[in-house]
């Protein structure tokens, strides 16, 4: 029902493309009966079940934690599972859904993230721990956890990556998602290779490629701030040796209680 009580029919305009049969991209309109609480993902499911089973998209968890369903809606990247569709309708009750930009299309709304994952691998996303592992946990203060700025919440959905105009021009760029992962590792007091990591990302494909356009911040569904992380990495890269030395010093006491607060 619409606000005045009459049934509301919405138009969902979807970019379609199956490279095996289509010569070019096209937009297709589907009419859907809006229902209270309908998300954009619900509308896609309704279309797939009732109108066109070949409509292809990724999805899984339905609550913005698995990172499958990042798409471009009315020009903005977002996770469609957590978005009420009504908030994205124009005055004609239309919404336009396209796949994430700057990436090859596999089929309809499914994109090829090969370069995205290759850059993730490039930054060595795993922790490189010190040699002396304590019997129990490494001691880490709540403040040291807070310094990670929730970077560990990144769900690798790709919304930031494909909103980044630098990525649009070169896939050599490491990208905001992988730089945020590098930030997580560099800032973690348990990581013993921050110097190596900073040296790697300070190259021409790394932190200096970022033009601070802030698209990644706008796109991030988890409210993370890759731009700020990249800024921090830039500053640390300039005093890499001192940072490395401070880390080595901190790691001498990783098995000891911390004081905080």
């Amino acid at each position: 029902m619409s606000d005045n009580g009459s049934p509301l029919t919405i138009t969902v305009r979807i970019q379609r493309f199956n490279p095996d049969v289509d010569r070019k991209l096209y937009l297709q309109d589907f009419k859907v009966a809006w229902q209270q609480g309908m998300t954009i993902l619900d509308a896609l499911h309704t279309i797939k079940a009732e109108q066109d089973g070949s409509l292809t998209f990724r999805r899984s968890c339905r609550h913005a934690i698995c990172g499958s369903c990042a798409m471009n809606v009315n020009g903005r990247n977002m996770l469609v599972c957590e978005q009420p569709i009504k908030a994205h309708l124009n005055r004609k009750n239309e919404i336009t859904i396209r796949p994430l930009p700057y990436l090859p299309i596999i089929k309809d709304l499914v994109v090829d993230r090969t370069t995205f994952w290759a850059q993730y691998m490039r930054v060595k996303p795993w922790l490189i721990p010190p040699e002396n592992i304590p019997e129990k946990e490494f001691r880490m203060s709540p403040e040291e956890v807070a310094a990670l700025q929730d970077a560990e919440h990144c769900i690798m959905c790709g919304a930031c990556y494909s909103a980044c105009t630098v990525v649009g021009t070169t896939k050599e760029y490491i990208g905001p998602h992988a730089l945020l992962k590098a930030f997580l590792r560099v800032m973690d007091v348990r990581d013993s290779a921050p110097g190596e990591r900073l040296a790697d990302i300070a190259g021409s494909d790394g932190v200096y490629r970022c033009h601070t356009i802030f698209n990644c911040i706008d796109a991030c569904p988890k409210h993370l701030n890759p731009t700020r992380a990249i800024e921090t990495l830039r500053k640390l890269a300039q005093k890499r040796l001192a940072f490395e030395a401070a880390r080595a010093e901190r790691q001498k006491h990783l098995d000891k209680p911390v004081t905080s607060g």
């Binding site: 990724r58 209680p257 004081t259």
Partner: protein, 599 residues
């Protein structure tokens, strides 16, 4: 894009959540060649959706002395007596399981718990911390101490990313977006699997010396569920079709706090941090059902209490089918620090801010206690005598080891998946290094699965042609109405006849997408077939069990019956439907004999 039609590894793992990735990482570390297939990218696995924590008796935190059950927590002073123990964790788990959990397996899990949490920490997992830098812990339902190690309310997510990174470090090969169609078991020996490369649509034979299933739970057979869309019980159904029995399938946990109308999880950490449940009269009704534990009673009990309130007319919301979750008294700061994801979910899906509003919730199908029977080393067994299916392993939610028995405690699932995934990894590495060989495949499994796909993609007979989504919807309806929180003979018989009718109708299913490339219409049909397969086993097992235990509650047999039913249900496939046999529960009669379960 083309792949060879036969792929070979020493070990093939199906599923890349915590259990599968742990196994793959360990086997890789042991120098064994491992391939992991996953229907979604590994980091999309549903382990990542777990919120509240992972249980381990670290004893880092205790209640401030002389405060009540809701009182504040503090870090245990360094010189104080240990506050928690694996023995206590073991007892809580046994009691939570309503004595159906195998006590030898539970003992291994709770002992390994401590080591595995430290191992996660050493691998870089970002845990929340105590002021002196230890892993922080919180209260959770059914646990008698604050035992849940957590990372705000993102615990599964950080564990999944951590272990995936480690697997990459050890060179594990991931086949992302590959779907298992079949497992090849001949003469009780597993020889490999048949898989679909989703991108190309090619059907591939994957041969291995050892195969492990880590395919997750089967909660997608219910209308309201916290489970991801991917959790269609594929591995469970595939194993069953290959002649492997399924154990304790009647035990399905309904979580007390799903988002009203959606089923998406609002973590038990809400109550662990002190949240209340209220009925339409504003009463904390748990006082009537579990006065000692209130909202932190185990999930089966809390969900039944909620449903009773709803059925007796004290529900909330437009159709009175909900309950209020009240977090307002926790305060903004605590909610933002400890429950940020919960707040976001309630905002997006219910339009309420839990900082100053009540959130409408309802019980939601959440966890599958039953599954593929396996030993503590992940070895799948073929019968009640524990005859091994050589080369076949299982761990995580698809497996039934059984550590959760009739009801799982919160934070024991991340633990189960991690501990037994790791053990299966070591066991498979030892099996391979001990001289296991690739076995010749006799069957025409590839052709059979090609035919299955060809039929679904073919044109329907004139005027016929069922839609899988319609059949799936009807199945979920009957499972919810007739095989849900409260069950009885008549309702279960109704469910069974509905399922059998739907199974017949499934033969007429045709899909609309006729392209081989990334065909999610085809996946939907195959998944629906799997839902129909295991749902029949759930219902037949539930019909047979004429007692109430843990999450299985029969209104016509409302008492636990240890004399007849202190045993596991095993279901084998036959042309006439599931055939049941029963397996003894491992019980230490001196230390942990069955008691009345009261909270």
């Amino acid at each position: 894009m083309s792949n060879p039609s036969v792929i070979t590894h020493d070990v093939i793992v199906v599923g890349a959540g915590l259990a599968g990735t742990w196994a793959a990482m360990i086997a890789g570390e042991q120098g064994v060649d491992v391939g992991v297939i996953s229907k979604v990218h590994p980091l999309r696995s549903h382990s990542g959706a777990a919120q509240g924590g992972i249980a381990a008796a670290l004893g880092n935190v205790r209640p401030v002395p002389n405060t009540g059950p809701d009182g504040p927590l503090e870090q245990v002073p360094p010189d104080a007596e240990p506050y928690d123990s694996w023995e206590l964790h073991m007892f809580d788990t046994i009691k939570g399981s309503d004595w159906l959990g195998d006590q030898d397996a539970i003992e291994i899990m709770v002992k390994d718990a401590i080591e595995i949490v430290y191992e996660y920490e050493h691998m870089g997992c970002v845990f929340s911390r105590t002021p002196d830098g230890r892993v922080a812990q919180r209260r959770f339902g059914g646990h008698s101490t604050p035992r849940a190690c957590y990372s705000a309310d993102w615990t599964g997510h950080v564990l999944l990313h951590t272990i995936h990174e480690q697997a990459l470090k050890h060179g594990v090969r991931f086949y992302s977006e590959w779907y298992a169609l079949d497992v090849i078991v001949e003469d009780n020996v597993c020889k490999g699997i048949v898989a679909l490369d989703i991108l190309t649509g090619q059907v591939v034979l994957m041969r291995a010396k050892a195969v492990m299933f880590a395919t997750g739970g089967y909660g997608r057979a219910w209308k309201i569920t916290s489970n991801a869309l991917a959790n269609t019980g594929d591995g469970v159904a595939i194993a069953y079709n290959a002649g492997v029995p399924l154990m304790d399938m009647e035990f399905v946990q309904f979580h007390p706090t799903g988002v009203y109308g959606h089923g998406i999880l609002l973590s038990e950490a809400c109550r662990g941090e002190g949240g209340y449940l209220l009925n339409s009269k504003g009463e904390r009704f748990m006082e009537r059902y579990a006065p000692g534990k209130m909202e932190l009673a185990p999930r089966d009990l809390v969900s039944r209490s909620e449903q009773t309130e709803i059925d007796e007319g004290r529900g909330v919301g437009p159709d009175k089918q909900g309950i209020w979750l009240d977090l307002r008294h926790l305060g903004r700061e605590k909610i933002l620090e400890r429950l940020p994801q919960v707040r976001e979910i309630a905002l997006n899906f219910s339009g309420v801010d839990v900082i100053d509003e009540l959130a409408p919730i309802q019980p939601t199908a959440h966890y599958s206690m039953g599954g593929i029977p396996a030993t503590v080393d992940g070895q799948v067994i073929a019968d009640a005598q524990s005859t091994p299916v050589v080369g076949l392993y299982a761990a995580g939610e698809c497996a039934c080891i059984s550590v959760h028995g009739a009801n799982r405690l919160g934070t024991n699932s991340l633990l189960d998946a991690s501990v037994f995934g790791r053990r299966a990894g070591y066991a498979m590495a030892a099996f391979v290094k001990g001289g296991a060989r690739l076995q010749p495949v006799e069957s025409d499994a590839v052709a059979r699965n090609e035919a299955r796909i060809t039929r679904l993609m073919s044109d329907a007979p004139a005027g016929k042609g069922e839609s899988w989504s319609q059949i799936a919807a009807e199945l979920k309806s009957t499972m919810t109405d007739n095989a849900g929180i409260f069950r009885d003979d008549a309702r279960l018989r109704q469910a069974l006849s509905d399922i059998r009718r739907l199974q017949e109708r499934f033969q007429g299913v045709r899909i609309m997408d006729h392209s081989r490339r990334f065909n999610t219409d085809l996946l939907g049909a195959l998944e629906t077939e799997h839902l129909l397969t295991f749902s029949e086993v759930v219902v037949v097992s539930a019909l047979a069990r004429t007692e109430s235990r843990g999450a299985h509650y029969r209104t016509d047999y409302a008492k636990r019956d240890d004399e007849h039913w202190l045993k596991h249900t095993m279901a084998h496939k036959s042309p006439d439907g599931p055939v049941l046999s029963f397996k003894d529960v491992n019980i230490n009669w001196e230390k942990y004999p069955p008691q009345e379960r009261k909270y």
